[in-house]
Symmetry: C2
Subunit: 471 residues, 2 copies
């Protein structure tokens, strides 16, 4: 391609709205703008296609991400997947249209990817804040015991079945088998919550049990990962670390919600006294980001802090006003997260025609069966809730998503995973992540259809009976 204009862009781009942070600053901005355009087009195209064939739009965003990502189009690439900046089509586009010099390409590529990654993280923080805002703390506490049962079964069963199966059936050594078993325990709260919101089931009892269980599962997953990571590194379990994580999680979640409820009247009072534009939104974002920072810094997760902030603010009189204001922000930032998750996924491990993939695919088949069944049965752990959709709860726990990939990343770093086992875990994560939204829609749809038919049948009888069934 020839250049569109006679002078290198770096001269002209210095004219952007302010003095650039580094001399490549303007090109980084240009790269970020292009990446966002690609992300939004992928999200909308994928989402619209999925919506039309009755699949959850978020699945379309993930698939759209796969198409534009490191697996197929290379429009979005990331330094950890490729060290060559030239493999990112956006960087090549910048070189040919933006006057980016080859010697600056790598640093621009890294900076642009860093910005997109952080935007994706802020996207999932906003998503979890929105989910917290739509959740009902009282309902969540009421279904707490059920959620805890679901979370514990959903960690214990896949871990035990996966680890023992790998050892017994495939002769995998103990430590890698434990690691792979641990990777089966994760649940992606982001994907599940987003699908539930799309199906408008977030505030149903099933929805609240799933959300509660997914949050607890997140905490359990962190503890499991800490255990297996230290096991893989040193061959022993650091009990102190495990106790620290359990205490930190409990103190953080209970403490922030308790303190938050105590202090929220003062927060509302303060917001009401502010006069400038965006008073409620910015004050709330300060709370969200502070709790996210604390969640991250005490070795839990940023998203747990964001969820806690949502729960706290949901209890205030500002809930509806705030929820309305968060919608456009979530619309803008959340798709970045899902498209980036898809774009980072390397689906080449799924190709059965590559001989070295085959051993991994066989292991993967086993892991997938355990992953799906091990979570699907968790609904059976729910007690004292007659008439509840147990299958929906179990299915809601299936997607491993980005959390599963963290296990792979840590496993790679410590070097305990063989190449085929690593690939198998990735395949398991991909399939559970991409299947779960469709399955979840299916199990909730069936229920809705049954309910509709029941209501229809009863509609001919007395109205008060219909009311009682609806409840």
């Amino acid at each position: 391609m020839t250049r569109w204009f006679p002078i290198p862009l770096t001269d002209g781009l210095t004219l952007l709205a302010e003095a650039p942070a580094a001399e490549n600053g303007p090109l980084v901005l240009a790269g970020v703008l292009l990446s966002l355009v690609v992300i939004y087009l992928a999200a909308k195209l994928g989402g619209e296609v999925c919506a039309r064939i009755n699949l959850p739009p978020v699945l379309g965003e993930l698939l759209g991400g796969v198409v534009v990502g490191i697996s197929i189009l290379h429009l979005l690439a990331f330094p950890e997947a490729t060290s060559e900046a030239s493999r990112s089509l956006i960087i090549r586009f910048l070189e040919s249209t933006g006057g980016l010099q080859p010697e600056s390409a790598l640093s621009v590529f890294e900076a642009e990817s860093e910005v997109i990654s952080v935007l994706a993280e802020i996207g999932v923080i906003i998503l979890l804040f929105e989910i917290g805002l739509e959740s009902d703390l009282k309902e969540l506490l009421r279904v707490g015991p059920q959620a805890a049962a679901v979370a514990v079964v959903g960690v214990a069963v896949p871990f035990a079945a996966g680890t023992s199966g790998l050892i017994a059936l495939f002769g995998v050594p103990v430590i890698p088998a434990v690691f792979a078993g641990a990777a089966l325990t994760a649940t992606s709260i982001g994907i599940t919550a987003k699908v539930l919101a799309e199906l408008q089931r977030l505030s149903s009892r099933e929805g609240q049990i799933i959300i509660g269980a997914a949050v607890l599962d997140d905490v359990l997953g962190i503890i499991v990962l800490a255990v297996v990571a230290s096991l893989a590194k040193t061959g022993e379990i650091q009990i102190g670390n495990v106790i620290y994580l359990i205490v930190a999680a409990a103190v953080f979640l209970i403490g922030s919600i308790f303190l938050g409820r105590l202090l929220s009247p003062y927060f509302v009072g303060l917001v009401n006294r502010l006069q400038t534009r965006g008073n409620l939104l910015l004050s709330s974002l300060v709370l969200v980001f502070v709790l996210s920072y604390i969640g991250a810094v005490i070795q839990l997760e940023a998203i747990l802090g964001a969820f806690a902030a949502g729960l706290i603010l949901a209890e205030t009189e500002k809930r509806e006003e705030l929820a309305e204001k968060v919608v456009p922000i979530a619309d803008m930032l959340v798709p970045i997260f899902f498209v980036v998750v898809g774009a980072r996924t390397d689906i080449s491990v799924l190709n059965p025609f590559v001989p070295e993939n085959r051993e991994g695919l066989i292991l993967a088949t086993f892991l997938i069966v355990v992953a799906i069944l091990g979570k699907a049965i968790t609904g059976l752990a729910v007690f004292g809730q007659p008439g509840i959709n147990r299958l929906a709860i179990g299915v809601g726990m299936i997607p491993r998503g980005e959390v599963g990939l963290v296990f792979v990343a840590v496993g790679s770093a410590t070097g305990v995973l063989s190449k085929p086992l690593e690939a198998a875990i990735i395949v398991m994560v991909i399939l559970t992540t991409f299947l779960a939204p469709a399955l979840l829609r299916l199990v909730f749809r069936d229920q809705a259809e049954v309910a509709d038919k029941m209501l229809e049948a009863i509609a001919t009888t007395k109205p008060e009976e219909v009311e009682s069934v609806k409840e």
Copy 2:
């Protein structure tokens, strides 16, 4: 300070929602979250204080930025101002609470600053999009000749007076004097537009003349900068480059608005067929970011593209729905821009007790007088608009803002500016930027008070007369 927990954060933070782009990714996110908290607190504190003493909130955001920035608290620092990461308090906070290792501090600092800088740029892009959306293309075209006259006078008078004054009164050599004169020509469209919006004067005739003139001034400023930069570098003016910029600006602004109006019915039709969440917002953001990218890449400015996108979409039936959705996004991102502009401003050059500042301050006094008078008289260039507030138009053109700092950055890079002259330009930029919002409020208030008094006096007479005066 002691660490809050027993294990380095980098282990724990790997658990963040996805595999990090670089191994420091999670710490970068933590740094960005902290920076955003600091930015929002500074914006709200400054904004609320200013709102209470009847100054525009945006001035408070700028001043809040100064307080947390490189001049005073060092909470927000930027690599171009200091090469030591340890001078950023946020980085030191991360080191003591987040387990950031000293050897990674610089790269985390740079990445975090890059992300905040890009967020600030996206903030001013969203601001100009919002301003475009609130503008009226027909009104803007109708006042076009007046706006052009204001822009041309506002470039010619300060340039001629500044350059000749520096040569004649202070014996400054020709090329640096030309450079300093050129720096006097800029107008910060962002600050002016924001103040007008806060005063609810954006759609007044004065407001539209100021916006039109500021946009043209932006284009003229780019051309002036290209001229003086090549003059400083090679000693001669590259005519081809100047012609290119003029043609590119004309083709881009006229072309995008013409094409946009032609294609906008298809855009609306497409948006109406989309079914998934955020259809209007994301489709619009794609247009905004594409035009911003083109604006940047053809050596104009990203914000010109964003403004054009706003003008285009303002002509569609979606205007109001879209404007409503953009509000929370602007509330979230625009303050980042103003606080960052303030945080980057080094006010130490204003200290008269430092002997080496004195020569600069004397030069600055002269530049400030020229800067204010040279723009204030531009209102006189408005013709055929009886009863218009000429002073308000002139005052609206005063703030140099971030555009003025670009001149300083380019001047520094080419080495033509002496230290005192460079400091003098910075002082001029600071004072015009920080004074203009207050002055603008004053001149519009006076007008409002006069109008109120007139109405009051007339109110005792016939009602139909009051109506005609109001118009």
